[in-house]
Symmetry: C2
Subunit: 481 residues, 2 copies
């Protein structure tokens, strides 16, 4: 047969070369490719379809919580970025600058947005007059640019796609509530749709967003024990409202600065999905966002009636809202099995002449490779596939949860911390909260602080792993992408 | 009542100052606002919701015809743009250039994409190997930048949102078929969803896309008699495949260049919708893409039961798939009527204590201002509103069609042409096809060639309005945005 490939040989060993394994999956499943400009990527249809499904769910969650979409300009005057001092300090080295149009130099250089707090801020100061205009809850889906030296598809690219919410509130309390609400939405989304159990908590002062009062984040544990920041939600206090003069007339007749929040998540989530769920055979797509949820592979497809039955089943499944596809290419069934396993389709349905005779189909789960024979009417007329997708989701989430629990180590010294992260674990360590200790830990172990879990039990007292000072809080440390 | 406004006074007279009327509608309906960088705009939630509805329908039409979405990088090496000579000549003066990152100059300056034929081309040359890889049918939804001296929200801004399809085919015939298929989709979409009857045809050599063999377009007639190019579909021949070396191994064993097409439409469509359908009271939203299809205005909303009934009706309508909203703000009903008329909501439902008593609602159409009393159960339990939306759509389309027919003048001399376009018409003029005559017409009348209608009756012979040479073809000329 033409084009026959040995799939397992094509993907690097995830145990010995996790980085190459990741790249192999990204490229060979055709989720993305390298763009011509260093550090950029092309998101190919299979990766983009995953992103569209992620967008659809998140967008709906945002709208359900009262947010509206808008679109703000790509170009920001450099002077805007400079208005918030921490903000400019954090972003300056990564800023792509437009300095001319054609051959004509511009009067003021323009920044290609790395994030849009400043440009939202400038418009909010125009739109917000009174308490009646609050809260203002906007979101945008957009591309942003942050120039990076070391890049990897989905994880860190010069340009990426994301959503950024920007909200303005009359009180600190409301803005803080919003910050936590969106953090919670990210966490729920990751669990319920990506089958990823996140670490949720507060970022350290060192790791917080440039310009925020407080940053909260969700972090996922990759199968190499490293952490991937997967979404952040910032309470910005009045930092940006003061920089951009966003004031409102309150009910009491006084002019006050608003309190703002911002929150974002990006195509990076695709990297998380790959590194949490992928295996040696390739990708495993979380069922509820999978571009194809069920792949139908006809056996002896040239025999009369086989393809008809396959397409009939497809249209039944589509009517039930399942994303189904028939692979009617000229490859062998074996080739197709490999191909769709590599691409991570959660459910495979095989249908051949013998099956048709017996009015059954063969169903194979991507997560367990379990194969079962099922009555064809049951598949067409009941929620069989929906239920199976739910089971696969549950199982993938459970596996990830188990992996996560097995790879958190409670540590009490820097040596233990170093040992934990060197052997593919997260370290949960008592920490005094000082930036000095955080930096020393980073230097000695290469691990950074990830998040401080919320609602910690503070009955016990510990000693900081670094300086020995008394503390009641533990921080999660890990190597990170 | 607070915030009371006289709406009709706020919008400039469309008869005497159409340009200001347009700007007033854009700003006062809060569809868009000016961005801080000259020539940019912010698309506000009401405008963006319209764009989302446009996207949803078009995206589905693209997918139904076998296209897949992808995402290609924003930055294109300048050398790519320069590879196709007509392309670079057409776009060079409008290109925004990224020349440095932070303080570091880049080795090669990068173009912020004005369109993406070149970067798609560079990837297609990598991905396409054999006839089996064809046709390759991709689309992307993206922002593009073309620096313009004179800008107006939605019509011409430095940055705008659009979709761009890029396809590669084995044969000229298939690529030309694709070009016409997408032109037809644009035309159908405009008619069936925007209620805009388009002029469909081929652009002149002078007006075609920089790098195309042939460009086709849809043009809409604004109420001031000017034309707005609203979508284009290009047959690119082998111009880009030769520039980017996109070759495939054909069935006959020979290596051949592919034939490509590209096609796009943008947020400019929103400008078309405003200028085709708007009236002195404000916007009139085409029902099938309207952000809000039915606005429910409670009368005496503080009376017990009124708001409950209003929200009950809303949820009934939403279950039927209608985008409905209750205006329960503290404004007077009269204020609300003005507000939602200005924003162009197709159907208004008024519901007050007397209506509730009689189990009726009052319904007002935005297109005719006709008011009818309807049994409340009929509104809740039948397709009454759906049917009404369809009627409103049909009526708006008919009105636009009538306006269009009344404002096309057959002309036989340059003087007649000038007179036609000076009095708010399109001129249909015999034209020899030469660029010299086209330029002379432009110079003397300020009208440009818009499209040459397809399938013209060629039994008669005419004389070119400019040079008098014999011709069988007529071209549409108009002043244009």
């Amino acid at each position: 047969m033409e084009n026959q490939k040995e799939f397992t040989k094509e993907i690097a060993d995830m145990k010995t070369d996790f980085a190459q394994w990741y790249t192999d999956i990204v490229l060979k499943t055709e989720m993305a490719d390298y763009g011509p400009v260093k550090g950029t990527m092309v998101i190919r249809p299979y990766g983009y379809a995953l992103w569209e499904n992620i967008q659809k769910v998140l967008d709906n969650m945002f709208k359900q919580t009262g947010h509206k979409n808008a679109y703000f300009p790509l170009f920001i005057p450099y002077s805007f970025i400079a208005k918030e001092s921490e903000h400019v300090e954090g972003f300056a080295p990564e800023l792509a600058m437009v300095t001319c149009v054609g051959d004509e130099p511009l009067a003021e250089k323009l920044v290609v947005r790395p994030t849009s707090e400043t440009i939202f801020g400038s418009m909010y100061s125009k739109w917000i007059q009174s308490w009646r205009d609050l809260p203002l809850l906007l979101n945008q889906w957009a591309n942003v640019v942050r120039w990076e030296k070391t890049t990897r598809p989905f994880l860190r690219t010069s340009e990426f796609l994301w959503q950024e919410g920007h909200t303005a509130h009359a009180t600190q309390e409301e803005a803080e509530e919003e910050t936590m609400r969106m953090l919670d939405i990210y966490d729920k989304f990751a669990r319920d749709y990506l089958a990823i159990p996140m670490f949720v908590g507060r970022k350290s002062e060192k790791e917080k967003f440039a310009g925020a009062e407080k940053t909260f984040g969700i972090e996922a544990m990759m199968q190499d024990g490293k952490s991937l920041q997967s979404g952040t939600s910032h309470y910005l206090g009045q930092n940006f409202s003061k920089a951009f003069d966003i004031k409102f007339l309150d009910k009491d007749g006084a002019h006050k600065y608003v309190y703002t929040s911002s929150w974002g998540t990006s195509t990076r989530l695709i990297g998380a999905v790959i590194m949490v769920h992928g295996d040696q055979r390739g990708m495993r797509m979380p069922p509820f966002v999978a571009p194809i949820q069920t792949i139908i592979v006809p056996i002896f497809q040239n025999k009369e009636g086989v393809l008809e039955k396959a397409f009939e089943l497809k249209s039944f499944l589509e009517k039930m809202g399942i994303r189904a596809k028939v692979d009617d290419t000229n490859q062998t069934p074996g080739w197709k099995f490999n191909e769709w396993e590599m691409k991570g389709v959660p459910v495979r349905v095989e249908i051949g002449p013998k099956d048709i005779e017996k009015n059954v189909v063969q169903i194979v789960r991507r997560d367990t490779f379990e194969k079962i024979e099922v009555n064809a009417d049951e598949v067409k007329e009941t929620n069989f596939i929906q239920n199976l997708l739910q089971q696969i989701h549950n199982n993938m989430l459970e596996q990830a949860e188990k992996f996560k629990q097995e790879h958190i180590k409670d540590v009490n010294t820097i040596e233990e911390l170093k040992n934990a992260v060197d052997t593919g674990n997260f370290a949960k360590a008592p920490w005094c909260g000082s930036i000095e200790c955080e930096e020393k830990i980073k230097e000695e172990t290469t691990a950074s602080s990830r998040v401080m879990p919320l609602n910690q039990d503070e009955t016990n007292e510990y000693k900081c792993v670094c300086c020995g000072k008394k503390t009641k809080k533990k921080m999660l440390f890990a190597k990170a992408y």
